[in-house]
């Protein structure tokens, strides 16, 4: 970020670069560009400082850097310096003076006030009950986001959200802004795409600012099968692995459409098409996500196929295939074989 005359709120240029032409009595206000990287430093972070100007030939100029009025660097053509900023609420004053061989002088000043901002987000798509992971956006999802800004005054007092103006961008387009607007709900990325959600926070007096962004990729919703046990309920903690074997004569399995745009997997807008060994099985009207296979007197594989679509979301089309073997050796586990067989 290049700072000219005035910069973002956390770095405030106090005096513009000046250029004094000694040969005449005319004083020109010219520009000395002071660049700080990162533009919004966090507490304790090292900030790279650099200058450039067309007013002087810096290659032949003595450059002196000051931090809080203490000289930290001096030399010909020393265009770059670095400084470690303090904690929240502190101010680090930067001053740089450049003077060429002819006595022409240019200066720039800035104040760095460290800030912090985090951007938290989650999608409103479906995950199974008690799922311990993040809800990611599938098709047609909505993103809920929360910015947590930590601004402090020089006295150390935290600045309340109501005194911070937030501007929210989704792929560079403003989607919301306002004083105290620290959270938003926006539409999620399109299928196979990714959105960049960005928030800029500026204190009401414009002395502090912070910015952050996140890249939110879309996830193609997928369906997984879990055993639906008569006593324990749906075993969400283990999915049906391909070629699983069961000793039961009857097996209930429940489909879980991860990251679909639904509230419940049983909602009427979802169309479940089940087939077992090629035969279409009409879904249970009350619980279409659950399939019961009865294998009285049968041992062998049951090839299960499920196609899931939504009447409300044309992009939702999840397909899954599993093989459940009704046999003598039980291996109804995913991952490693717990029996060591």
């Amino acid at each position: 970020m290049i700072i000219r005359l005035a910069v973002g709120a956390c770095i405030m240029v106090l005096g513009a670069a000046s250029f004094v032409e000694a040969q005449s009595d005319i004083i020109f206000e010219r520009q000395l560009d002071l660049t700080l990287t990162p533009a919004h430093p966090a507490p304790g972070q090292t900030v790279q400082l650099s200058i450039q100007t067309y007013a002087l030939d810096l290659r032949r100029s003595m450059v002196v850097w000051y931090v809080n009025d203490r000289e930290i660097l001096r030399g010909i053509d020393r265009r770059e310096a670095s400084v470690v900023v303090g904690n929240l609420g502190t101010e680090t004053a930067i001053r740089v003076i450049a003077e060429d061989e002819e006595g022409l002088v240019a200066t720039a000043e800035a104040i760095i006030r460290p800030t912090e901002i985090d951007l938290l987000w989650e999608a409103d798509s479906y995950v199974p009950p008690f799922y311990g992971g993040r809800t990611l956006p599938g098709t047609n999802s909505t993103i809920r986001a929360q910015a947590i800004a930590r601004f402090r005054t020089p006295s150390g007092a935290p600045i309340d959200d109501s005194n911070i103006v937030y501007t929210w961008y989704r792929n560079d387009a403003i989607v919301a802004d306002g004083r105290g607007k620290s959270s938003v709900t926006v539409s999620g990325p399109s299928l196979f795409g990714a959105d960049t959600l960005r928030v800029v926070a500026v204190s009401a007096d414009k002395t502090l600012s912070a910015e952050t962004s996140v890249r939110i990729p879309a996830v193609d919703p997928f369906v997984m099968l879990h055993e639906n046990h008569p006593l324990f309920g749906v075993l969400y903690h283990r999915s049906l692995e391909p070629g699983a074997t069961t000793l039961e004569t009857e097996q209930k399995v429940t489909a879980v459409p991860y990251f679909a745009d639904i509230v419940s997997p049983g909602e009427p807008s979802l169309l479940y098409e089940w087939t077992v060994n090629g035969a279409t099985i009409a879904p249970d009207p009350e619980e279409p996500q659950t399939l019961t296979i009865t294998a009285e007197g049968y041992t062998g594989p049951a090839d299960i196929e499920l196609s899931l679509m939504s009447a409300r979301d044309i992009f939702l089309h999840a397909v899954g295939k599993w093989q459940l073997v009704f046999g003598e050796q039980s291996r109804f586990f995913s991952g490693l074989n717990p029996f060591g067989q």
Binding site: G132, G133, R134, S182, L336
Partner: protein, 416 residues
């Protein structure tokens, strides 16, 4: 005459039709009730071991019990000595567990029935505390000595939260257990380990989530703060510190905060696949990351100290801090971690959380100050333990944990 005959005929036909409709309705009503009763009866018959279904084939749960565990791990009879070093406390799936205060009692809730059991970890003696049938409890938290938080699904499949309080009287040898329903808006519950209180994240109107502190019985709720997102794990430590950790996903940056009054103080920011296990009464912290390619474990021995990577590929939620050493002038910072014995591959966290992948763990002891790792227990090859929710007793002698493969409860004695 013919006219009256027609009227009587019509009335007769109408009466028969009404009778048939009534009988049909009664049939469907009875069918529904029979289904409910069958579910309840099935659950009611479930005591310690899982019953088998009809026919010669056994139930899945019995297969779990008979297949996973060797007899030596199960055979503990009261009065016949201490349990084996690695002990399968419950053969049937459980919903949750916790040590009761500073005692050697381990309390757990059975998943199928909601029955509460107390186990003396030194003798192996198990006592069923309650007789109230609460089928299909998915998650349980032990709060203090008298309260249990139960999480299950309601008729519509939505998660609901029950607060259960143990009474002071017994009925047929069982303690009375009364529950109250907190509804379906609760996303997460964290119990206090020292006070009869709980912390909850509850969905509010307008897409906001409230962090609420309440008494263990759910009364006297106080709103701590309000957030625009609600996907957090809660960690409420014995020293009163409360942590909010964004729910993790492989490769997705997460943040962890300590809640101080009504503000969020950042602990870790932007760590992919973040999981955190903070240590009570200190600034020490264990956390793990999953960037999608591999899992890494880090420790910060004290607040403000530098962070060290531990050469153990596991997640922080498979680890537990040992309580502070007593009797020594320089207490050591010890962590016990279960770690997979094989490579877990890419996107481990996502696959593990969804039940696609299960691990076979060994136990390691970590000196957090030095960053040294030592394997101290490896289960027999016939026992595959995918450790989750490890907890240690206050004396630091036992680690209780659940096996994520089948939700069974296990106990490991630290020293031989």
């Amino acid at each position: 005459m013919l006219k009256y005959q027609r009227i009587f005929t019509n009335i007769g036909i109408a009466a028969i039709v009404f009778l048939l409709i009534g009988l049909l309705g009664w049939y469907f009503f009875l069918r529904t009730q029979t289904g409910d009763i069958r579910d309840l009866e099935a659950a009611r018959g479930f005591n310690i071991s899982v019953p088998s279904f009809t026919g010669s084939r056994s139930s899945t749960a019995e297969n779990i019990a008979s297949g996973v565990v060797t007899e030596s791990l199960l055979a503990v009879t009261e009065g016949q000595g201490a349990p084996p070093r690695l002990w399968k406390v419950s053969t049937s799936p459980i919903a949750g567990f916790g040590f009761i205060g500073a005692s050697t009692t381990l309390r757990y809730v059975e998943r199928a029935t909601g029955h509460i059991y107390d186990v003396n970890v030194e003798t192996g003696a198990a006592t069923r505390v309650t007789n109230e049938l609460i089928p299909k409890v998915y998650e349980a938290h032990i709060v203090g000595t008298t309260t249990v938080v139960l999480r299950l699904l309601d008729d519509t499949g939505m998660p609901t939260t029950l607060i259960g309080v143990l009474g002071t009287t017994t009925d047929d040898g069982f303690t009375r257990f009364t529950t109250s329903n907190l509804g379906t808006t609760i996303r997460t519950v964290a119990p206090s380990s020292v006070r009869p209180e709980i912390m909850m994240l509850a969905e509010g109107a307008d897409n906001v989530t409230h962090l609420i502190r309440a008494r263990a019985d759910g009364t006297a709720p106080q709103q701590v703060l309000t957030l625009g997102v609600g996907g957090f794990a809660l960690e409420w430590l014995s020293d009163g510190k409360l942590f909010l950790v964004e729910l993790p996903a492989s490769g997705i940056p997460g943040h962890a905060y300590e809640v101080v009054q009504d503000a969020l103080n950042p602990i870790l920011r932007g760590v992919p696949g973040l999981m955190v296990t903070p240590r009570p009464a200190s600034g020490a912290l264990l956390y793990s990351s999953d960037d999608g390619a591999r899992v890494r474990l880090f420790v910060r021995p004290a607040a403000g100290s530098s962070i060290t990577e531990i050469t153990l590929g596991t997640i922080a939620k498979k680890c537990v801090w040992a309580p502070a050493s007593t009797g020594t002038s320089t207490p050591t910072l010890t962590i016990y971690c279960a770690a997979p014995q094989e490579a877990v591959g890419a996107n481990f966290l996502d696959r593990w959380l969804r039940g696609v992948l299960h691990t076979a763990d060994a136990w390691f002891r970590i000196d957090a100050s030095a960053g040294a790792v030592e394997r101290f227990f490896t289960p027999e090859t016939t026992v595959a333990l995918d450790v989750e929710r490890p907890a240690m007793d206050s004396a630091g002698e036992y680690i209780a944990f659940m096996n994520a493969r089948d939700k069974s409860l296990w106990l490991l004695r630290v020293n031989e």
